[in-house]
Amino acid sequence: MEQKEGYFVENNTIVINRELTELDLFVRDFLDILKKHSDYLVVSGFVSISTGRARGTEDIDVLVQKLDKEKFNELFKDILKNNWWCYQGDTLEEVWRYIEKGESVRFAKQEEMFPNIEFITVDKTKPAKYFELTHPQKIRVKDFEFKIPPLEFEILYKEIILAGKKDLADARHLRIFFLDILKEERFKEYKLIIIKEKER
């Protein structure tokens, strides 16, 4: 049988050579709703896991462009209508008190706790997160295409800001797996943004 490499790049999209997992389907279900209402970016653990890191996760971090109350309400209603529930509450008022302060909320499938989506709103007051949200990298697994941060940004964020054992392992995985396409000049550029974030 022909041996295939782990990924290839096609029209600036990274294509991962693997089958979809149940975790992919979970994330895709949520993004299908979210994309109708807002821009987004999938960050952190799922970036490493979707590209091969052999570890589990219970939450998927999704950055979302900050919405006003009316637009968030439309999104919130759509999410609930599609059989998801929100940890923080069943009504707009309950959930909005988190969103308006820039605090994250979590969504899971009805009667499930795990996995869940950590819904993190982002605007210019969070410069590093805003930068990655507005500089996405497309990635595809089979017919599931989604947006992640630039790889170099994700690696540095894990190494410098998060820096836990799991994060350093994720970063090492990304550095090795994507060795052929990582660009040194991007590391230099993004490091400045991330160092600034750390000093905030």
């Binding site: 782990g6 050579n17 091969g52 940890y87 996995p115 797996f177």
Partner: protein, 71 residues
């Protein structure tokens, strides 16, 4: 791929696996099994801890207790 030295740390193993996966996508099959098995386990664990009856109420009370939700 031949190993240059004997792996010692967790990061060494992460590196070996990433190299193998980069060269040969068949290793994704093992990763899929691991991810799906972990998902199943955590879902079952949560169902045991928070039964279907009053699921949201029990869970939110728990989350308030541990400080994740506002009182």
């Amino acid at each position: 791929m031949k190993l240059k030295q004997i792996p010692k740390t967790d990061l060494d193993y992460v590196e070996i696996y990433a190299r193998k996966l980069k060269e040969n996508s068949k290793f994704f099959k093992q990763q899929k099994k691991l991810i799906e098995s972990q998902l199943k386990s955590s879902s079952q664990l949560a169902k045991q801890k928070f039964p279907k009856e009053n699921f949201k109420i029990t869970m939110r009370n728990h989350l308030k207790k541990i400080g994740v939700l506002k009182a």
